[in-house]
């Protein structure tokens, strides 16, 4: 089990006085999927890069604890997939990248087959589309035995199937005891997460489960939730009556079919 604690973190890039993050504090002990939300330029990517220690805090600290053990080697325990997923892959093919992580070829073959990647595995990385490359990068990132996984905008270029796979991998990672932090602007990811953190003007503005936060988001911040949440909120306003709160279209369909909308 890993614990992350961010204490009073402030950061500005060298040469500027413009603070990107100000007195940011947050802690997480339980495994789970955490979303970083915020308007463009609010400091999501900067926070992820501070967590990898590729940037150094101007003030405050980010510390990790690995259960009772004192040592936490970030090189082996933190995996970061940047927004430009090309930077994550080495190549020349997805297969070779996977082989670097998993030595057992049979295991690699099984994985490729199970996730329908067999036809992509032997292709050169530059023959893949951006979306395919991102999907492969994310898939490989999840195979690494890490404790903390940081994903920057993982859904760019992903189609419905790719997004399904991402959700599946997120779920699996949670059961393996990992903490996954996803910086995203894709409102469709919000309902899949265990905890949402809303960053506003460099500080931690809202924090909690999607069910609490998403229904408050539009009122309190400059952000908006996914369409289903917006639909429910606007229906409630129109008829001045509470209706069951849900987050995804599948959940809403179930409510509709049971005809228990009001």
């Amino acid at each position: 089990m890993i614990t992350i604690s961010i204490k009073d973190l402030s950061f500005h890039y060298p040469g500027t006085k413009n603070y990107i993050l100000k007195s940011f504090s947050w802690e997480r002990e339980k495994p789970g999927m955490i979303g970083l939300l915020g308007t463009n330029g609010c400091g999501k990517t900067t926070l992820l890069r501070l967590m990898t220690r590729s940037l150094t805090p101007t003030q405050g600290s980010i510390s990790y604890k690995n259960g009772d053990k004192k040592d936490f080697k970030r090189e082996t325990n933190i995996v970061y997939v940047p927004e430009n997923a090309r930077l994550f892959l080495v190549g020349p093919t997805p297969q070779k990248d996977l082989n670097r992580i998993i030595k057992d070829q049979n295991h690699v073959d099984v994985l490729l087959k199970r996730f329908n990647f067999t036809n992509l595995a032997e292709k050169k990385l530059y023959h893949l589309s951006e979306g395919q490359r991102r999907l492969i990068a994310i898939f490989i990132a999840f195979q690494i035995q890490s404790r903390l996984l940081l994903l920057d905008e993982p859904t760019i270029g992903l189609d419905a199937r790719g997004r399904e796979l991402l959700f599946h991998l997120l779920d699996q990672a949670k059961h393996q005891g990992k903490i996954v932090i996803v910086s995203t602007n894709d409102s469709r990811v919000f309902p899949q997460l265990d905890e949402l953190i809303v960053i506003h003007k460099g500080t931690l503005f809202l924090q909690g489960s999607p069910r609490e936060i998403l229904f408050e988001l539009e009122k309190k911040t400059e952000l908006i939730p996914n369409q289903i949440v917006r639909l429910i909120t606007s229906l409630e306003e129109e008829i001045s009556q509470k209706i069951p709160h849900c987050l995804t279209s599948e959940e809403f369909n179930r409510i509709l079919h049971d005809n228990r909308l009001f």
Binding site: Y13, T16, G38, T39, N40, G41, C42, K44, T45, E83, N84, H127, L128, S129, E130, G131, Q132, L135, E153, I156, G157, L158, D159, A160, R161, G162, N185, D186, S187, R188, E222, L223, I224, P225, N226, Q227, I228, R230, L231, S234, L235, E238, I239, T248, S249, E250, F252, N253, L256, H257, N259, L261, F262
Partner: protein, 271 residues
């Protein structure tokens, strides 16, 4: 008026046995907001780059078929023509920036087209205002977040007002509220006479405004028409969340939140 005409376009990358695009036909008219959608790797970016001539100029490939822009064959157009006729935002705008400041970046293409100085200045003000990013004008390009840069790249492409605008995933990296604004901006551009082609996955707010959607699969066009008539084919690509709702007695699926709300209220008031 037809601005873009693609006939029987096939593209095969060097050393690849498969065709990335196969027999694509497309007529793009003035005042049209078209979405090109399809699963990852279906040939969206290839099509965008072929229309611009980046394939085969930068990326070697075998090309069959014809692309006509403003009635002229692409290979007969000069570089200057291409810049004047086409605006383009690639998937990774960060790879294509050349200047230090945001305003310089927007001015760059205008300067190269020899716009007078005062016109450039007013153009910068207008376009930043239109995209609601006036606060970014004097910022350093390298300091921008990816979402901010995305919008600067859109401004740069739109500034010279080319008749055809091609955007590769314009909604990527954009926060959800700006997504709604941006969808509206693309719609207005089309209304003002541009042909706007957006290669996009995030359809939640763009699809209700689009005039047309083209769906690619394995390099072939499998559907082409009005968004509402093609909801079934889009299912496998990506539908707006509210279009995934279904309830008895209503056959027509909603495209926007407002439509969904109307349908729901009507349905439940009848029970």
């Amino acid at each position: 008026m037809t601005l873009l005409e693609i006939s029987d376009l096939s593209v095969r990358y060097l050393k690849s046995s498969q065709w990335a695009l196969e027999g694509v036909n497309f007529l793009g008219k003035k005042e049209e907001l078209t979405i090109v959608a399809g699963p990852s790797g279906c040939g969206k970016s290839t099509l965008a780059q072929a229309i611009l001539g980046l394939i085969p100029a930068f990326i070697e490939a075998e090309i069959l078929g014809k692309i006509k822009i403003m009635g002229k064959l692409l290979e007969e157009l000069s570089r200057k023509d291409i810049i004047q006729f086409l605006g383009y935002v690639p998937q990774y705008p960060a790879d294509f920036t050349i200047n230090l400041l945001v305003e310089e970046e927007i001015a760059f293409s205008l300067e190269n087209l020899a716009y007078p100085r005062n016109e450039i200045q007013s153009c910068i003000v207008d376009i930043l205002d239109q995209l609601e990013i006036s606060h970014l004008r004097y910022r350093l390009i390298t300091e921008l977040s990816s979402g901010e840069l995305q919008r600067v790249a859109l401004a740069t492409a739109i500034a010279p007002r080319p008749p055809i605008l091609i955007f590769d995933e314009p909604m990527a990296r954009i926060d959800p509220k700006s997504e709604i604004t941006l969808a509206r901006i693309l719609y207005n551009l089309a209304q003002n006479g541009h042909l706007v082609i957006a290669f996009e996955h995030r359809l939640d707010y763009l699809l209700p405004l689009a005039d047309r959607i083209v769906i690619l699969e394995n390099g072939k066009v499998i559907a082409d028409g009005k968004p509402r008539s093609l909801l079934d084919s889009i299912k496998h690509v990506d539908l707006p969340e509210v279009s995934e709702l279904n309830w008895q007695d209503i056959t027509q699926q909603p495209l926007s939140i407002n439509e969904a709300k109307r349908h729901l209220l009507k349905h439940f008031s009848e029970i």
